[in-house]
């Protein structure tokens, strides 16, 4: 069965209704995006006629002779119903309405949305929105995000598909991803706004079946089709990781009921348990989403929960160890030969257990020995590389080279945390440029491992070998 969103992304012809000749206006930006990047045929509609970006402006959709597979309507809310009606008459079956001012904007808007729903039903039109950014796929040259590229930077093609209820969240996160590492992250982006038709469950169904989507990131505030969402998620999470935020955690408590069960049924308690049962990794804060992308988008899954920590600072090592237990991970016990090597190589004032603390006397060579030993130990499932670069004998360039060399092997998860000022920032950006995950605190680095390991545990529980799931390129 073809999912609704496939019909949008597979469109061979696309029409921008409300193409504006005023630079940086939404209708101008979307027209520009399609004229310049969309490989299929692009049609522009503006009642005044004329030309835009060397492309003819049709006065109405009905003037266009060819078939139109999908369209984006960018006109003021009060004109949206009649514009949608024309799309219906033209036989356009897939429409994105980015304009706001509908059900989210009081009585009048609600009335407009109702009118549109009737037209949708009458002509059997699929609708994304209203009040949304619509769709973005760099690989497909598909971009209805109406904010100019000078303001909203676009990430390039990569493994992550994102769908969001909030357009503002989506815009900000897309912009963030554009400057995260190589910026090569996004497969499909779906902002569905008021979800008058296409909702979170349609989006999940589509990205679940999309071979270019290796991981799914979500931002939800409520469910339009919660049961279907959970049922789909249970299937999809066995093939690719799904993670994200379900916000709006505190608004509604349990409703008074006659039973204990009703009294215990606070919305978020139920949502939290059902997300967990469906295999969705739930995060709470915005920063965790970027960590998700870095961890799942660049690292292989661990085979188990045993973590090794290498650090030049005692405090950082202790905090990382605390987070290891907070995230239900374990500190690895090194194999006998690895332990002997560490004991024999390092001076007696280095701590050679786990965490391996190579102290303020550490050199880049010490890092190489400790990281290699931990990384190669079969009793270690993932490695945390912590560096506070202020120490005198550490050559930061050499440290960066060693970290890069190990990180690129990708045999097991390898996360780095650089803490400090200018030199830490320098090393962080050098590493991130090659999509090597670096985190601003040891706790964040371990937490990222915790998320990867949670997914491994989930897959194992369902009888799936985590190595069959490949996210990172």
């Amino acid at each position: 069965m073809t999912t609704k969103l496939e019909k949008y992304f597979n469109a061979k012809s696309f029409c921008v209704v409300g193409a504006s000749t005023t630079p940086n206006k939404p209708g101008n930006v979307v027209a520009y995006n399609f004229v310049n990047y969309f490989p299929g045929k692009t049609y522009l509609v503006n009642p005044k006629g004329g030309k835009l970006f060397d492309t003819k402006l049709y006065k109405s959709v009905l003037e266009i002779e060819d078939q139109i597979d999908a369209a984006c309507i960018i006109v003021p809310a009060k004109y949206a119903p009649q514009t949608l009606e024309q799309c219906g008459q033209k036989g356009v079956k897939n429409v994105i309405i980015t304009t706001g001012g509908f059900s989210e904007a009081g009585e009048e808007g609600l009335e407009l949305q109702k009118q549109m729903l009737n037209i949708m039903k009458q002509y059997q039109i699929n609708v994304i929105g209203p009040n949304c950014l619509g769709l973005y796929s760099p690989a497909l040259g598909y971009d209805t995000m109406f904010l100019p590229a000078s303001k909203l930077k676009r990430p390039s093609a990569g493994p992550v598909s994102i769908f969001t209820q909030s357009g503002a969240f989506g815009a900000a996160f897309i912009d963030q991803l554009s400057r995260l590492g190589s910026g090569k992250w996004v497969s499909k982006f779906v902002s569905y706004g008021n979800a008058s038709d296409i909702n979170e469950s349609d989006a999940l169904e589509y990205v679940g079946g999309d071979p270019d989507t290796k991981m799914v990131l979500i931002y939800l505030e409520d469910f339009k089709d919660g049961r279907r969402f959970m049922e789909k998620a249970r299937e999809i999470s066995l093939k690719k990781p799904i993670m994200g935020i379900k916000a709006n955690r505190t608004v509604t408590g349990a409703k008074a009921g006659a039973s204990h069960t009703a009294a215990l049924s606070s919305d978020d308690v139920i949502v939290d348990d059902l997300l967990d049962d469906a295999g969705i990794i739930r995060v709470i804060t915005w920063d965790q989403l970027e960590d998700c992308v870095l961890a799942f988008g660049t690292q292989p899954l661990p085979l188990g929960d045993r973590v090794a920590i290498v650090t030049d600072g005692g405090g950082a090592g202790v905090m990382a160890s605390d987070m290891v237990s907070d995230c239900n991970l374990k500190l690895a016990q090194f194999s006998a030969d690895v332990q002997i090597k560490l004991d024999q190589t390092f001076p007696s004032f280095y701590a050679t257990g786990n965490p391996v603390d190579i102290t303020g006397s550490a050199t880049a060579e010490d890092y190489r020995i400790a990281l290699e030993a931990a990384y190669n130990d079969p009793q270690v499932d993932s490695v945390v590389n912590i560096c506070i670069p202020v120490i005198p004998d550490l050559d930061i360039q050499e440290y960066i080279a060693i970290t890069k060399e190990i990180a690129h092997r990708k045999e097991k998860p390898f996360v780095t945390s650089l803490v400090g000022g200018e030199e830490a920032d320098f090393a962080t950006s050098e590493l991130l440029e090659e999509d090597i995950p670096v985190f601003s605190s040891p706790g964040r680095a371990v937490r990222a491992l915790g998320m990867l390991t949670d997914y491994t545990k989930y897959l194992k529980k369902r009888g799936i070998d985590p190595h069959t799931i490949m996210v990172e390129e």
Binding site: D222, F223, G226, R227, M230, G257, A258, S259, H260, T261, A262, A263, L264, S265, D267, V269, I270, V271, D273, L274, D276, D277, K461
Partner: protein, 228 residues
């Protein structure tokens, strides 16, 4: 299954939304859930005869639509050991509750002490019927050690839910407490979720609290079913 529909119909005709305990237990029995032996007695001698046949100790509970919070109204008397106790309790009920509409008195074999669990269902706006499992008893709402799943739940999901409660160790032979048969418990969760799912047009919420797990098995001791 017809018995369940009949009871629902009867409750609706009486303009009630809450099933009385004896009605709820018939519904559970129809779903294949084992409940302690009981009968609804209408006079003292009927009560004594039943108690003698079940064996002591016995619990007696007043069945009345006017007394839904039975414990608060002292309409549940436990640990009755003789036929005189039964007679006396029956008369006492009739005396104290002479102004309420009485359906009868539930005479039930008393279940040995054990771990008190809860299994319940509710109708969620987003997800439809959901089932809850957790540590039950009178403190259930204070302890809040519960896990939810969507109905109908599979046996695997139910086993996972059982292992997800914080006080899981309590089920595993903790300090002399009985070891809970998780397999049978999962079956019970599946059965109740099936009931909630199949009757989702009628049933709003349910509680089996407590389900007592003792050394001889699992016993739904109190049951509440609320219709939409």
């Amino acid at each position: 299954m017809n018995e369940i529909k009949t009871i629902i119909q009867k409750v609706r005709l009486a303009n009630r939304t809450a099933l009385l305990e004896h009605e709820a237990k018939i519904v559970l029995k129809e779903m294949g859930i084992n409940v302690p032996p009981s009968i609804l007695a209408h006079d003292a001698e009927e009560a004594v005869k039943a108690a003698d046949s079940f064996g002591y100790p016995i619990v007696m509970k007043l069945m009345s639509q006017d007394v839904l919070h039975k414990t608060d109204a002292k309409a549940v008397i436990v640990d009755l050991k003789t036929s005189d106790d039964i007679r006396h309790t029956f008369q006492d009920f009739m005396h104290r509750f002479e102004n309420v509409k009485i359906e009868g008195v539930l005479v039930e074999k008393m279940v040995d002490k054990g771990i008190e669990l809860i299994i319940g269902t509710n109708t969620d706006d987003d997800f439809g019927p959901v089932i809850l499992f957790g540590i039950g008893g009178v403190l259930v709402e204070a302890i809040k050690d519960v896990v939810f799943r969507m109905c109908p739940t599979t046996k695997e999901q139910s086993l996972e839910a059982i292992n997800e409660i914080k006080a899981k160790v309590l089920l595993e032979g903790f300090r002399g407490l009985p070891t809970v048969d998780k397999d049978a418990l999962a079956d019970l969760i599946v059965q109740l979720s099936k009931l909630a799912w199949e009757y989702k047009d009628d049933i709003l919420e349910m509680d089996i609290n407590p389900v007592i797990a003792n050394s001889s098995g699992l016993y739904p001791v109190d049951a509440r079913i609320i219709l939409k």
